[in-house]
Amino acid sequence: MKPVVLLLGATSDMGRAVARAYAAQGHPLHLAARDAARLALDAEDLRLRSGVDVWTHPFDVLAEDAASIMTGLAPPPSIVICFVGMMGTDPQLIMRTNYTGPAMVLEAAADFLQRQGGGVLVGVSSVAGDRGRAGNYVYGSAKAGLTAYLSGLRARLHGSKVRVVTVKPGFVHTRMTEGMDLPKALTAQPDEVARAIMEALEQGRDVVYVRPVWRLIMTIIRLLPEPVFKRLRI
């Protein structure tokens, strides 16, 4: 049997694209997300498309017991991918949804995989976390926290059989970015994110920028001296 995959935030556009890509290759799937009706619809769609087994789990990253998602999953997953995140206007909600919430669940998932003797943990962070920008620094700071968390977790688990992968999608055409005027050359489709994640897992990469040009862009942005950077409205 192909490795079982757990998707956290499975009804997001990226989550759905990754679910379809794994299902097409015959991987059984656990889908976890808030909206039970949408989960059921997604699960049936995946079964009809690919004939794989799909289980659904109600899951809210802001709930007290969010991490309990990792107990009692049968069959146990060996690939865990977390898409949870959001943009918005409420700073506290943004911080909790993009950083503390996912980090707590990923911690539980890391322990789970370690106990199980191996696996892969993928956290979807953001290029916005590479440097705090005037336009979206609350979101950026939360994603920076998640990136740092994933980096540390990877170091902690190095030498064990658990791998940690950080994904920074860059701009992606999703519901979250709807209505934004995104440059075509820098904006990926959700399918591309799915492909990039699956490739990264095969190739054993640590940090993935979905469109490689983003690595260059963010390197330059990171290298700008603060006195210069603060004057740029980027």
């Binding site: 049936e44 769609d45 009809l48 519901r175």
Partner: protein, 436 residues
């Protein structure tokens, strides 16, 4: 957001909303007029509404499939490409397929699309068992040939003007291979083309490429392609469906690239490349049904100003004479394009506003320029004189009067829209232009 149909004309700034789930549409209903838009493959203004265009791409769940009867239910945003990807390997083919697989089921219903097998199978709507429709007041109605049939037959071919199509149930066709056995007949003039269509009436799939630039004794010369679903024992050993990587037109070509000389040269070359005697060949379904899909964004060939496709149908008795008249007019103008198609429709009944009727349909592209628009006006008069009509999914420029002459069931259609509260609310730019 700037939106346009496949012809890139007209191009309009539209407020858009993406529907993430069917019930999300409810929250937009208090802001009419609005229209649904799938993949935007109608050519003109059928899927544009500056006030509110609802994008259905994410309503893309397959809902149910019965492997015994082939009955498939999908949300309206599921594409034909997806259906082929998922079900063709299991031996199921959509019963009717337009010339591209980059269309949504909602669009296929709204335009009541036809394919190369129209003379045998009718248009897509005839294979639909039921629809779920969100009305302008938010109610969701299930309709089909036996349930609310009036609403159903107004929605089949109704260009999205009766309500928001949420899901579609229809029958897939069992097939034994993913290949077509096909052959090409050369018809040196229009008379020979008519004969070739009559002689090919027994074939499941027929279509002809027609040269609209050559006149005289070669007026209306055609290459007629006919095909049948191949049976396993007809395939050469070791044949597998190929996955060709599609190419893409990278930029809008300058407007001068397509001119009467380049197109005439292309047409002469193309016609003369066909073998003199029909030679049967085995083709994969993609190459047979969707040759143009191999070139993504081919609409950019027509440049920034865009193009319009003129597709008309003339009833069979008067059609031969009318078609000759049309072709002579087009040929004389020199504006014909290299993508012109002729096909004989069968006599299947469709919806109130369904395009097909028994007779000959002609489709060709024109770059949008003042002289071509004047020519199309002339063609309208010929079509109306011969009791023909235009295909709304392709149209961007005809008049309310022309529409009314061609569609005798229009009054009934409008009445049904009134009755179900859709008039003025489910309203595309096309509907406004044509006084619907």
């Amino acid at each position: 957001m700037k939106l346009a149909g496949w012809g890139n004309f007209p191009r309009m700034s539209c407020r858009v909303a993406t529907l993430g789930a069917a019930d999300e549409a409810q929250s937009w209903l208090d802001q009419p007029p609005m229209i649904a838009r799938g993949l935007g493959r109608s050519y003109g203004d059928a899927a544009l509404q500056p006030n509110l265009t609802l994008l259905t791409r994410r309503l893309d769940h397959i809902l149910a499939f019965d492997p015994v009867t082939g009955l498939l239910s999908c949300e309206a945003g599921v594409t034909l490409e997806t259906i082929l990807d998922v079900f063709l390997p299991r031996g199921w083919l959509p019963p009717v397929s337009p010339g591209t697989k980059f269309v949504t089921l909602g669009g296929m219903v709204a335009a009541d699309v036809h394919g190369k097998n129209h003379h045998k199978a009718g248009s897509f709507g005839g294979h639909v068992r039921s629809l779920r429709l969100m009305l302008a007041d938010g109610r969701v109605v299930e309709c089909g040939p036996d349930v609310e049939p009036e609403l159903f037959w107004a929605t089949i071919g109704g260009m999205g003007l009766t309500g928001l199509i949420l899901s579609v149930s229809f029958h897939l066709l069992p097939v034994h291979t993913a290949f077509i056995r096909s052959e090409v007949l050369c018809a040196p003039n229009l008379e020979a083309a008519f004969d070739a269509f009559e002689a090919s009436a027994g074939w499941t799939y027929t279509v002809a490429w027609i040269d609209c630039l050559t006149g005289g004794r070669n007026l209306g010369r055609c290459l007629l392609t006919r095909g049948e679903l191949a049976e396993p024992d007809e395939l050469p050993p070791g044949l597998l469906p190929r996955r060709k990587r599609p190419k893409r037109v990278p930029v809008d070509l300058p407007n001068w690239v397509l001119n009467r000389w380049s197109m005439r040269a292309f047409n002469t070359l193309y016609y003369n490349m066909a073998p003199a005697k029909p030679r049967p060949a085995i083709m994969d379904l993609d190459s047979f049904f969707y040759p143009l899909d191999a070139l993504l964004e081919w609409n950019r060939i027509y440049g920034r100003n865009g193009f319009t496709q003129y597709q008309c149908v003339l009833p069979k008795p008067a059609g031969r004479e009318g078609l000759r008249h049309l072709l002579a007019t087009i040929q004389k103008s020199g504006f014909g394009s290299f993508l012109a198609v002729l096909k004989l429709f069968g006599g299947h009944a469709g919806g109130c506003l369904s395009f097909p009727m028994e007779g000959y349909t002609l489709a060709l592209d024109f770059p949008v320029r003042p002289p071509t628009l004047a020519l199309l006006h002339e063609l309208d008069a010929i079509v109306a004189d011969h009791a023909g009509r235009l295909y709304l999914a392709k149209d961007a420029r005809t008049t309310p009067g022309m529409l009314r002459k061609g569609y005798p069931r229009l009054v009934g259609f409008q009445h049904i829209r009134d009755q179900w509260g859709a008039t003025g609310r489910m309203q595309s730019l096309l509907a406004e232009r044509l006084d619907l």
